[in-house]
């Protein structure tokens, strides 16, 4: 039985089995589980593995303000007393009022930690007022929980920041009320009430340790003094960083690594190579040796997946370094390790670190723990991380807007030293959802690679699409071969009328990096 027949039977068997399964889950069961999940989450402390999401990029704001991660003196105990006045911080930067006559509703509100992660997190909108228009009642707690995890304000965060999603909008007032997430029946506690000169960002002191559900009321500046405010629910987690007692156990806590994507994470155990605990240093600090022959590999996709280290303890100082795996054919076989900056979370059981760039890496994490007696306590652990190469897509002229083909079988050699080269002869695979491109016989098709890749060499072959579809042998016809192509490839399609699959094999370069891949595109040739 050849692969095609077996694949058909496989599909049929799986569909017969999977589709016959009755589904007994109901929407009300989902709602019940949602309520249960929230109670459980807010009731326990170590629910950080699925890291905070609902992240809203504020790149433009960061660009214009030079970032809103800034150093703030640490020391004062957090308090529930209302904040008397706003911190000047970015308030001095110019911002504009919002005009009720030109917009439908005020900008949404974001929340962040200071000092802390240079990202702002969205909340759950409640109501707003813009001039004469008002939606919802002011100060109404019409939600008893929030559907996502919120700002984590562990060490060294001292203050919570509120800002508008529109970086030009100015805030002039803030009122923040909070309830403990596991005691939503409690009267709200006022965390902040302040007025301010027009400012991009307003701040208030973080609440005490606990999980908080807060209602933020923010007033916007308007040119005529018309009312403009928005109310939004946020969650704030202030993790407890209880120190460890080295006398109570033989070893410091294990460090795990987690790759996470949109809130779902996969944990990976590492290999501990050294530790300091209860006055004794064991193992070989600084070693790169110690991973098993086939370690549990952590796969991250640059730009999509995040990388975290976790421990059942407070990690107050985390240092992460990575050593690129360089293969023998690369001229420089001994790269130096690179540091991976900590992004957020120091002082908590979950610390985000920067993912390494494309390549295979040995990751070494050294985490220091808070101890009751102030003694040295740390653990050094090795992990294996594979950061995938994201091959460029292939776009077509004249507008080069849509990606028409995805890279198959990519190989690469980057200036970082990372490389991968696989020989593969994969079946013809068209990009899902793409219709055949109509082309007149003899007319050229124009192609470009995304992400500024330049085409060095191209080879185009064609196979009969109908033969491929029916699983028959399809001879390959050479259509075109070009060298030193440049940014745009022009391929004359001298094919007989009919349905064809073009396999466009490209070698490209970008700032010293090189890559090769093929792209399959269906075309319908007309006379």
């Amino acid at each position: 039985m050849h692969d095609g027949q077996l694949e058909d039977r496989l599909r049929s068997a799986l569909r017969g089995e999977g589709d016959a399964l009755p589904i007994t889950i109901t929407a009300s069961e989902l709602e019940r589980r949602l309520a249960l999940r929230r109670r459980e989450r807010f009731g326990r402390r170590a629910s950080f593995l699925a890291a905070a999401v609902a992240v809203i990029a504020v790149g433009s704001l960061v660009a214009t303000t030079g970032g809103w991660f800034r150093s703030t003196s640490v020391g004062s105990e957090p308090s529930l007393a209302p904040t008397p006045s706003p911190e000047p911080s970015e308030a001095a930067l110019p911002c504009e009022s919002i005009d009720p006559a030109t917009m439908d509703e005020p900008p949404s509100l974001l929340m962040g930690a200071s000092p802390g992660d240079a990202k702002a997190y969205g909340g759950l909108g409640s109501g707003y007022r813009l001039g004469d228009r008002q939606v919802g009642q002011e100060g109404t707690w019409d939600h008893d929980s929030i559907g996502f995890e919120g700002v984590v304000a562990g060490f060294p965060t001292e203050r919570i920041q509120v800002l508008a999603s529109d970086p030009g909008a100015c805030l002039v007032g803030l009122r923040v009320d909070a309830r403990p997430s596991d005691r939503m029946g409690d009267e709200p506690v006022r965390l902040a009430e302040l007025t301010s000169e027009p400012s991009r960002v307003l701040e208030f002191a973080k609440p005490p340790v606990g999980d908080w559900f807060v209602l933020v009321h923010a007033d916007f500046a308007t040119p005529t003094g018309a009312l403009a405010w928005r109310e939004t629910f946020f969650a704030i987690e202030v993790p407890d960083c209880a120190p460890l007692d080295p006398a109570s156990t033989d070893m410091p806590p294990a460090i795990d690594a987690v790759s996470f994507f949109e809130g779902t994470g996969i944990g990976h155990a590492g290999a501990r190579v050294a530790s300091a605990w209860n006055g004794q240093v064991v193992g070989t600090p600084g070693s790169w040796d110690g991973l098993p022959a086939e370690p549990d590999q952590i796969v991250v996709i640059p730009g999509f997946d995040g990388l975290q280290v976790t421990a059942d303890a407070c990690m107050v100082d985390v240092r992460a370094e990575a050593l690129l795996t360089v293969y023998a054919e690369v001229p420089d076989p001994a790269p130096t390790p690179i540091g991976l900056p900590v992004r957020r979370g120091e002082g908590s059981p979950v610390v985000d670190i920067t993912s390494p760039s494309t390549g295979g890496w040995t990751l070494r994490v050294r985490a220091s723990f808070l101890t009751v007696d102030g003694s040295e306590a740390w653990s050094e652990t090795l992990f294996r991380v594979a950061s995938r190469f994201l091959a460029p897509g292939l776009t077509m002229g004249p507008d080069f807007f849509e990606i028409m083909g995805e890279a198959g079988c990519p190989s690469y050699h980057l200036t970082s030293g990372a490389s991968a080269s696989d020989g593969c002869g994969a079946p013809y695979e068209l990009m899902e959802g793409r219709e055949p491109v109509p082309v007149v016989s003899g007319a050229p098709l124009l192609f470009r690679l995304t992400d500024d890749w330049v085409i060095e060499e191209s080879r185009v072959i064609a196979v009969d699409a109908e033969l491929i579809e029916s699983g028959q042998f399809a001879p390959e016809y050479s259509v075109d071969f070009q060298e030193n192509v440049g940014s745009t490839l022009s391929v004359p399609i001298a094919l007989d009328p009919g349905s064809w699959i073009l396999r466009i094999t490209l070698n490209g370069n970008r700032r010293g990096d090189t890559f090769g891949a093929y792209y399959d595109i269906a075309v319908t040739v007309t006379p």
Binding site: M1, D3, L6, E7, R9, L10, R11, S12, A13, L14, R15, G16, E17, G18, D19, L21, I23, T24, I25, T26, A27, E29, L30, E31, R33, L34, R37, A50, V53, A54, V55, I56, G122, L124, G147, F148, E149, S259, F261, E262, G263, T264, I266, V299, V300, I301, D305, R388, E406, G408, C409, P410, A420, D422, C424, A426, E429, M431, E432, G433
Partner: protein, 178 residues
Amino acid sequence: MTVEALRRRRPETLGQLLDAYGRELQAVAYLILRDRLESEDVVIETLLTAFERGGSIRDERALRAWLLRVATNEALGRRRQTARLVRLDVVPDAAGPRDLASESSTRLTLLDGIDALPVQMRAAVVLRYYADLSVDEVATVLGKSPNTIKAQLQTALDRLRTHLADPVGSSLGAIHHA
């Protein structure tokens, strides 16, 4: 519409998600785990995760791929938690030659063969041949390179072909990698 509802976290979103994706997610989870109750739990956890964290998904197609990724990871995570080697003490009754010729018997033999695949490979097979994801999409869902997935799928096909040819022989003493 579901993506928009996710952004707005409308109360009816959970029901919409269930209607739109529940059946497929349950089938994928079940085909990986072979446990109906566990697969229902995977669906519930996946849809709740989507409700809570899916607001940043850009379009319906991305939502489906993301849901499949969450569900597969959830299923694999459950399997990983209880990972162990299980030796089959009881060899299933061998089908007779006439039965083997029948379509339903082939289907059962294939399913038996799929069950015997390592769980990661089984997940790749389910995503490719049940959920109809492309190789690249399967690679993204499972966090592997497309080449690894291609190799896994080819190995799976080879093993299933062998299993079909001799279901009893290839099952005897088989070790299921949970």
